[in-house]
């Protein structure tokens, strides 16, 4: 009893609680921590796999198979986050018939941790999205959409932080310019702000104020626009910001065989990834942290 009280009172001992049962000899393994980030984007209501006769993606995709894979990875490493970069809605009759209910229910069963909002998520209007929120057991983030004068006010946060095995992870969301892409009557009074400026603010807040060890941007602004190279996109965002470790993208349905490594505004590496569309792939990024190690001169080892 006495010991229990002691543990509860001491902040240092809180760290030890995590070690209970490991013993001193495990101290070595404790110094390396692995955080796994799993991600999808632009699934577009593709709940069933493509059939065997499909010309482009035969036998690929399917939520029930993705569930098996996610379970397996979570079993290997419980310190896993599952994220989606938007455009959950629209693309199969499941959406037309159920308005996104089934998509949200299944994503809740797969234990998605966090998602951002894509332009097609407004396809039944902002009210249509709002109506489906009770079916989502995960949170929504968007830092550059101001929903103050809409039904989504207070339902979408700019960012969310997670602590996994003592590692603090901050994830903020970014959405694409809606004007010209989505009918105003669908997004109503949603205000769009420049993603680059918002990302600069967000990464500072998450790094300096929230003291996150890992900063992730969940983006639906698109990977890169070949015909308008200066248009705001994930690659340009990576170059124009600092303190972001990973940008998970969507919108352009870009099938990247492996994450792109880009240099940020202070010359540090940023990973940019996107896994195409329709749930054909699951992106997996593992971050290894070591405690008590000075940052290496050559920086972090990236194996992609």
């Amino acid at each position: 009893m006495k010991r229990r009280q002691f543990l509860q009172k001491s902040t240092a001992a809180t760290a030890l609680v995590g070690l209970s049962g490991l013993g001193l000899q495990s101290f070595e393994t404790y110094t390396t921590k692995k955080i796994t980030i799993l991600h999808t984007n632009d699934v577009h209501s593709h709940i069933d796999p493509f059939g065997p006769d499909h010309k482009k993606n035969p036998n690929k995709g399917g939520v029930a198979r993705r569930a098996t894979l996610v379970d397996r990875i979570r079993k290997e490493n419980p310190n896993t986050l599952l994220l989606d970069a938007g455009d959950i809605f629209q693309g199969t009759p499941y959406f037309n018939y159920y308005g996104g209910e089934l998509e949200f229910k299944l994503m809740s069963m797969l234990k998605y941790d966090l998602v951002t909002i894509g332009n097609h998520d407004f396809d039944n209007g902002i009210d249509g999205l709002y109506a489906q929120l009770p079916h989502a057991k995960f949170d929504f983030v968007s830092a550059n959409y101001d929903f103050s004068n809409t039904v989504l006010d207070t339902h979408v946060k700019p960012y969310k932080t997670f602590v996994k095995n003592g590692i603090k992870i901050g994830v903020f969301g970014l959405g694409i310019q809606l004007e010209g892409l989505v009918d105003k009557k669908m997004y109503k009074e949603t205000i769009y702000h420049n993603p680059v400026e918002i990302a600069q603010d967000m990464s500072r807040i998450l790094k300096e104020d929230e003291k996150c060890d890992l900063v992730i941007c969940l983006s639906h602004i698109g990977y890169y626009y070949k015909n308008s190279p200066n248009r705001v996109c994930d690659l340009n965002l990576a170059k124009a910001t600092k303190d972001i470790d990973l940008i998970i993208g969507g919108h352009t349905h870009t099938f990247l065989p492996k994450p792109t490594i880009e240099k940020n505004s202070v010359g540090k590496n940023v990973l940019v990834n996107q896994v195409g569309a329709y749930g054909l792939y699951l992106g997996k990024i593992d971050f290894y942290f070591e405690k008590g190690k000075a940052p290496k001169a050559e920086g972090t080892t990236i194996l992609v």
């Binding site: 709940i47 792939y281 070591e290 990236i302």
Partner: protein
């Protein structure tokens, strides 16, 4: 007991020291990979069971037969007009005009859709609700735009340069010369009157500048029909036991 406390205290002290001297964890390594979702992965039974009743209901509805196609129709069947494109534009004209006329007393003079908006073929055989979803998976809906003749001419210039079989309705006759110049154009068999207002039906995507169709704005007024293109197709299929799409001369190019 006392000893145990001592060890704990010492450990706590060490941990605190550690935390302070090396305050944060250092990111030392990142590994990234992409994992394909394919049939090597067994579907999770719990998820499959959950989807099943939804799937059954959707399929039952989608597979109901609503019309019949005597042939297969594809958007690649012609350079400037195709049977499937003509069919879609004329369906929007016929079904859309019922609502437009009731609301405004006017009639639709012309329909313009886009080639890219035909998302699938119509296969020979039974037409089901699913066919309409395949041809038009998007939620786009019909709008009718009041356009002065000069803006309609802008549209004709666009069509002459686009070199695509963008679907147009049967009231239009547009002929291009061998260098894609407009050699003749008429609506209802009459030349386009530059000062007259024409009522042009299209979808909200194109109205908002999709496919670089900049000519819809500014305009002489807009009527939003709240009628999805897909529902136009479903309603049109249901009215006809058999459809008879035809390629014709509404939009052609002369080769010499």
């Amino acid at each position: 007991m006392a000893n145990k406390h001592y060890v704990l205290l010492l450990l706590s002290f060490l941990v605190l020291c550690c935390r302070q001297s090396n305050n944060e964890s250092t990111l030392t390594k990142i590994e990234g990979e992409r994992i394909e979702i394919n049939n090597d992965l067994k579907p999770k039974p719990e998820i499959e069971e959950f989807i099943a009743p939804y799937r059954e209901n959707v399929n039952k509805n989608l597979d109901s037969v609503i019309s019949y196609a005597p042939e297969t129709y594809a958007k690649g069947d012609g350079a400037f007009n195709t049977a499937i494109g003509n069919f879609m534009a004329d369906a929007v004209l016929e079904e859309g005009n019922i609502i437009f006329n009731k609301r405004t007393g006017h009639n639709i003079d012309l329909v313009l859709l886009n080639f890219g908006g035909i998302r699938s073929i119509i296969s020979q055989g039974d037409i089901t609700t699913r066919t309409a979803y395949e041809v038009m998976p998007f939620e786009n809906s019909v709008v009718v735009v009041g356009m002065k003749g000069d803006k309609v001419m802008e549209m004709m210039n666009y069509l002459s340069k686009a070199k695509k079989a963008h679907p147009v309705s049967k009231q239009l006759q547009l002929t291009l010369g061998k260098d894609f110049e407009i050699t003749s154009v008429s609506i209802h068999g009459k030349p386009i009157d530059l000062n007259k207002t024409y009522y042009v039906a299209t979808n909200d995507y194109l109205y908002n500048g999709g496919d670089r169709m900049g000519f819809f704005q500014p305009n002489e007024g807009l009527e939003i029909l709240d009628y999805k293109i897909r529902n136009v197709l479903i309603d049109h299929f249901k009215k006809h036991d058999t459809i008879h799409p035809k390629r014709d001369n509404r939009f052609i190019k002369l080769n010499d």
